[in-house]
């Protein structure tokens, strides 16, 4: 058995030092200082950090953000149409307002955006699913309905697209959106084409 007669002449093992051991030395003074300082810092951090509150709400929540928006004071004043466009519209209609060829129509200098505000409001409220001609070109895509958004938000984002990329049309008032929302309350389906929209108004 090779185990009872070990290969002590292996040059790899022979040239080694002994297996390591440890010196006995006291902890350096700066380690002691570090221990004390770190523990004090830890206690201070815990003491000074607001960590209470309901566990299920998450890490350091602003309670107002978790409550229904009615509770937000002055929310209406803070609505920024450009910001809404940037979060909800930009993926299809693009930052340039030029859309995507054949699928998502442009908003820049679009007759639908600059024209009758009632038509524009209804497109945004109910969406459109089918062919639409914009600036002489055909598009076939699906615009979702945005009626879950508030009148103030819808008015802000439509006013923004009517003023961006060289567009110049009057802003839309929340009251107008509200009125259109009430008039077309019964509608549950998107419009089927640009044609249908035209004939509706």
């Amino acid at each position: 058995m090779s185990r009872s007669e070990p290969e002590t002449s292996s040059p790899q093992r022979q040239r080694e030092y002994a297996d390591p051991d440890e010196g006995v030395r006291p902890l350096p003074w700066f380690m002691m200082m570090l221990l004390g300082a770190m523990t004090m810092w830890g206690a201070f951090y815990i003491f000074s950090t607001p960590s209470g509150g309901e566990s299920s709400y998450g890490d350091q929540r602003t309670m107002a953000a978790l409550r229904p928006p009615e509770h937000l004071a002055g929310a209406a004043a803070e609505v920024d149409g450009k910001q809404i466009y940037g979060s909800k519209c930009v993926a299809c209609h693009q930052p340039t307002g030029q859309g995507v060829a054949a699928v998502f129509p442009p908003l820049a200098t679009s007759e639908w955006v600059l024209g009758d505000e009632k038509v524009l409001i209804n497109i945004v409220l109910h969406g459109i699913n089918g062919h639409i001609e914009v600036k002489g070109k055909q598009y076939k895509g699906a615009m979702p309905a945005w009626k879950d958004m508030s009148d103030v938000e819808l008015a802000a984002v439509m006013s923004y697209i009517r003023s961006a990329w060289g567009n110049q049309a009057a802003p839309i008032k929340p009251a107008t959106v509200k009125a259109q929302r009430e008039t077309t309350q019964s509608r549950t389906e998107p419009y089927k084409s640009g044609q249908e929209l035209k004939s509706a108004f």
Binding site: S55, Y57, G58, A65, L66, R67, P68, C92, V103, G141
Partner: protein
């Protein structure tokens, strides 16, 4: 000094005991306490359980590793402008009541998707974007997923979903048909909507 002289020297008993007590403490704090505190969280009334198709789509989200680039956890406004980017309000534990496995994510190579269904409710956009992200978001580095679609000549069969694509992406005599996985994935993405108030219906 010999090791035997010191009865307090580190031995296997201390090693095992110390190691287990420390691991037990860490597990108690990071695993057991959250378990006890969160096990009775009720799902918010406005949050619907996933449908079967959405669950299939969620599986596809997992299988294709969307979580490695997309988080599902908007932070509070006082920490980061997540809400201002349209990603939604900060989330609470109840928002994840139906989310097992959790998909909170650790990267934002792409945007947060917790509310993508509310922000981007267009099915067409999602299908086209999965087929070729760069046609819809110039400069995107999201992979394209051609294997979730079928490209062929001729007409689609009844019941198939044809993807409406910009002309640069589709040859005139070809149709791009979404496979069931793609449709399920989009259905899951559209279900991601936590825009309801987190505290509605909860006791204050």
């Amino acid at each position: 000094m010999n090791a035997k002289a010191n009865v307090w020297d580190m031995d296997e008993l201390r090693l095992i005991t110390g190691a287990m007590v420390i691991l037990g403490g860490a597990t108690g704090i990071l695993v057991v306490m959250p378990y006890l505190l969160l096990q009775n969280v009720t799902p918010p009334a406005a949050l619907k359980p996933y449908t079967n198709e959405q669950l299939v789509g969620r599986q596809s989200y997992i299988a294709n590793g969307c979580v490695y680039c997309h988080s599902q956890q908007p932070r509070d406004t006082k920490q980061a402008p997540d809400a201002k980017r349209g990603w939604g309000r900060p989330t609470v534990a109840g928002d994840y009541a139906y989310d097992t496995p959790h998909l909170l994510g650790t990267m934002r190579t792409g945007p947060d998707l917790m509310n993508i269904g509310a922000r981007q409710p267009s099915k067409d956009w999602h299908l086209g974007h999965l087929y070729q992200p760069r046609a819809y978001t110039p400069g995107s580095i999201m992979p394209s997923y051609p294997y979730l679609f079928e490209v062929r000549k001729g007409q689609p069969k009844p019941g198939e979903t044809v993807v409406n694509l910009p002309p640069a992406l589709a040859k005139p005599d070809e149709v791009v048909v979404a496979k069931p996985e793609a449709l399920a994935l989009v259905s899951y993405l559209l279900s991601l909507d936590r825009t309801y108030p987190a505290l509605a219906g909860e006791k204050r």
